[in-house]
Symmetry: C2
Subunit: 333 residues, 2 copies
């Protein structure tokens, strides 16, 4: 295992020390709880947005804390759910009197821990705490760590859109409706060219032959639908678009599209795949309103990419375009 770390058990904390050092003006890091907070939290009268999950997917979630996106991110160990104590610390820190919303990726551990935290936080403080579930991966129905679909790329879009809505003063009920709409209208599918190496394991999670890809890969290296020969980028584009369009009709409404790098795939290849994907989508009558290309939800150094599509009406497009100021997404600020 070849990584720029000190000791396996210190990776998350040591990395958060770097986050604090890099963003002293905009972020506060609670190292005790591995929680990254907006420096100006809590914001009075604004719903507090809390997300989090296993580390190793950066910039998600810690890189999405800031104006117009999350108020707090709870950082678990690599690919491991954070625990309720972390979430309770986050809930308390971001509670501005308008309630707190948890954005939870659909994995059994995350769901259970966020639920427990919500119950205990509410009992302790009297604050109303709700949650929005992200479950967008069309690759598999149930999975190693999931009942139902896995939460993957749509999480980035969810955090951006709910963050913008919370910033403009929408209340908790409105955010719950909006979150349900985003989840209903969003789908993702990914593929891997290589495995990553989880530090605590010290070796690749899976092996692929030199000419092989895993179609429908999970963001923790969970198996997808099938292994196939690696084709051209044009063929790959077909392979990732097809299962998404087979699952939901994306014609008739413009879409926000994210072509995401899994960590080890160079940007030149990501743009190349996006070029092919955009041709396939246009050929299928899908109108692309906004595009995001880059490493936004990663799996350590895994090579591969994923595609996320979200049906976007005028409200969602306005929220997407609204100012955001985080280390991982920034515009208009």
């Amino acid at each position: 295992m070849k990584k720029l770390i000190n000791a396996v058990e210190d990776i998350v904390t040591d990395s958060l020390v770097g986050v604090a050092a890099a963003h002293p003006d905009s972020l506060t890091v609670d190292l005790q709880n591995s929680v990254v907070l907006r420096a100006d939290a809590p914001r009075t009268g604004k719903v507090g947005l809390v997300s989090g999950g296993g580390s190793g997917h950066e910039p998600m979630h810690s890189g999405y804390v800031g104006y117009g996106m999350l108020d707090a991110a709870c950082c678990g160990q690599v690919f491991t759910s954070p625990v309720p104590d972390q979430m309770m610390a986050a809930d308390k820190a971001v509670d501005g009197g308008a309630g707190v919303l948890h954005i939870v990726k659909n994995y059994t551990g995350d769901v259970m821990n966020f639920d427990m935290a919500a119950e205990m936080s509410a009992a302790e403080t009297g604050t109303r705490i709700e949650s929005v579930l992200v479950a967008d991966d069309v690759a598999v129905q149930d999975s190693l760590f999931t009942a139902g679909r896995r939460g993957v790329g749509l999480t980035v879009l969810m955090e951006k859109i709910l963050g913008a809505a919370a910033e403009t003063g929408r209340d908790l009920d409105a955010l719950l409706d909006l979150g349900a709409k985003v989840n209903d209208g969003g789908r993702s599918f990914g593929l891997a060219l290589t495995s990553c190496v989880v530090p605590a394991a010290g070796q690749p999670t899976f092996e692929l032959d030199e000419d092989e890809v895993e179609l429908g890969i999970g963001i923790h290296g969970e198996p997808g639908r099938e292994r196939a020969k690696l084709g051209t980028a044009a063929q790959v584009a077909e392979q990732i678009v097809e299962p998404i369009l087979a699952d939901l009709d994306f014609t008739g409404t413009p879409v926000i599209a994210m072509l995401n790098g899994m960590g080890g795939t160079p940007l030149i290849e990501q743009y190349l795949v996006w070029g092919e994907v955009s041709k396939v989508l246009s050929g299928k009558g899908v109108a692309i309103a906004r595009t995001l290309v880059g490493n936004h939800i990663t799996s350590l150094e895994m090579a591969g990419c994923s595609l996320t599509l979200l049906k976007a009406d005028d409200d969602l497009l306005t929220l997407w375009d609204a100012p955001v100021n985080t280390p991982g997404l920034r515009w208009g600020c």
Copy 2:
């Protein structure tokens, strides 16, 4: 070789098709010449900023085209200088009547081609065309492809700072002075954990043992100073800070610092290294005014990182903080 491409000879063009598709409002891509342009080029009365180089370092340079940074980027084949025809097309497209400035990384091919282009463009159009050289890598004096120091991470800072200055109306002479100041006050050093695979070669440029790093790596995989055992991140931080501080005294003036990922190193590790680097710098009396962490000048999927430091007076800090709106760097817009 496992890459998301169609054919090796089409990588750059195919990727630029994706760039055009992803940024239809802000960028124009001249596919014939592999030149990425601001959609609003030329800007009358503004010095046109042109850079470029071999592809494979994305987001540099194509990702730094836009308001407050470059007017055009000339994209060569992977790790291969663009040719004068490309630069002449860029010169013409960005010429707003106030002259054109080439920002050139110090590699023999790039310097020669940009020089030829400048001469021919000027002869053809009468426009004054000057160039700023970036030569910041303290690792080696001369190199495989270089007379003098290689141009590496400082290029990102140079493009940002000169871009901001051009945007606020500084003239060509002022930009030349500013460019010289940035180059005088900036230094970089990098290390690699793995080689990348240049598509045309199809195999790793070099081999490292499982516990070995290349100290002083070039951004094309050129050899550095020495091979060493991979230590802890704290030791790595010492290894990359020491040669920079040995070359130039960075005390007394605040610095802009960039901890850059080479492409295949996850963000969690980059922040972890930055945490260690910031401690080492503070211990040496270096005052960090601004920090940038992420993949900003890459070597395809190479694992590793580099550090760039730039002495920054108030003028440089103001230019650094000025609005920028490009795919690769964006704030204040």
